[in-house]
Amino acid sequence: MSSLIIRELDCQRGYNQLFSHLSFQLNAGEVLRITGTNGSGKTSLLRMLAGISAHEHGEINWGNYSVNSNEYQQEIFYLGHQAALNGELSSLENLEFLSALNKTADQQLLIQALADIGLKGYEEEYCANLSAGQKRRVILAGLFVSTAKIWLLDEPFTALDPIGVSLVEHQIQQHCQQGGLCLFTSHQESVLVNQQVLAL
């Protein structure tokens, strides 16, 4: 099992230095909760780890693979601020596309995932008609069926009800027991075991 190693990472937005010389290591089975005030660079860090933003200094490595390698990109699932859903498509259609972008899962598995996350009966519903929490649940369903090892979750608990929150926490726990690793940003205290906290 490989571990995720971040070395001497810098982040600058405009004239502001958000963080510098950030180094940490996350091993398989570990959870890292990233906290910090608004604008402290939590999202920027996750976007760097997802390979969306380039990093000028420092290194991001997973085992022997660097952040831009195909092998690394295959193993990440990035959940951003936005729902990544198109309002003109149904929840199942959106989910099918998103999971195909990450790794292909078959339709039966996706319907089951939607049911598991409490969206049974909403498969054919256009996403424009879903509530904020339901939209969040659609993309989380995609997360739960993905085979990616590294989960990068930006505010995964936003807009979720308490049952949804505990569901996500349960899934993170299970993912880590199976040897995955998870980095997420949150302002809420969570009860995950094996959790480390990084304060930016």
Partner: protein, 221 residues
């Protein structure tokens, strides 16, 4: 089904559920073309001379009008981030989107152009060559347009900026396509123009998806 066909399917499906995105450029094309006879002259001799130019300028502007939406929604709702962070080839994903854009905007225009050609007294040979040039050169419009669309994707109210960026690159296509039609009307050879348009298509096909991918990554930073 592979991801690139899925991307194409997805874009087509979204557009069909929101038909105004297909109809608006097409209506613009029809309206602007049909205004010229009213403004210039209804005479057959005059119109047949300028028909190809009118149809080409109108279709170019119609394509330009639709380019803003190419990446806009996917940028707003975060799908673009998912595309960038996936392990699939971003240039090929973009190429699928460009192909969908061409099918949705240019193909209706090409199909409608003979009708408007007749309306502007273009002769049969002229209509044939007009359709060939449209078929050969409109894919270049979508391809080159995608570079501009990906550069401006994060900027608000950027319609004018897109025109400024893209129109200079469209000019050679316009010149060679319309001169092909007018030379054909005089019975002159047009291979040179068609070869140029084909060269332009080949060049933009191999470069535009890569340039767009780089531009999109910069826009997402």
């Amino acid at each position: 089904m592979n991801i690139y066909i899925k991307t194409l399917n997805r874009d087509l499906r979204i557009a069909l559920r929101n038909p105004s995105s297909i109809i608006n450029p097409l209506l613009f094309f029809i309206i602007s073309t049909s205004l010229f006879p009213l403004a210039i002259s209804p005479e057959a001799a005059t119109l047949s001379q300028i028909a190809a130019g009118i149809i080409w300028v109108s279709s170019m502007l119609a394509v330009l009008l639709s380019l803003n939406a190419l990446f806009h929604h996917d940028y707003d709702n975060g799908v673009l981030e998912q595309m960038v962070s996936s392990h699939h080839s971003l240039p090929l994903l973009i190429l699928s989107k460009i192909f969908a854009h061409w099918l949705l905007t240019s193909v209706p225009i090409i199909l409608l152009s003979p009708l408007l050609g007749i309306f502007l007294f273009l002769d049969d040979e002229g209509i044939k060559i007009l359709m060939i040039t449209l078929l050969l050169a409109t894919p270049s419009l979508s391809l080159i347009g995608s570079i501009g669309a990906s550069l401006i994707v994060g900027i608000k109210n950027s319609g004018m900026l897109l025109s400024l960026l893209i129109l200079p690159l469209y000019i050679p296509i316009l010149i060679f396509a319309t001169s092909a039609v007018s030379q054909a009307q005089f019975g002159l050879p047009i291979e040179g123009q068609l070869y140029f348009l084909a060269m332009f298509l080949a060049l933009s096909l191999i470069s535009a998806p890569f340039v767009s991918a780089i531009a999109l990554k910069i826009s997402l930073e």
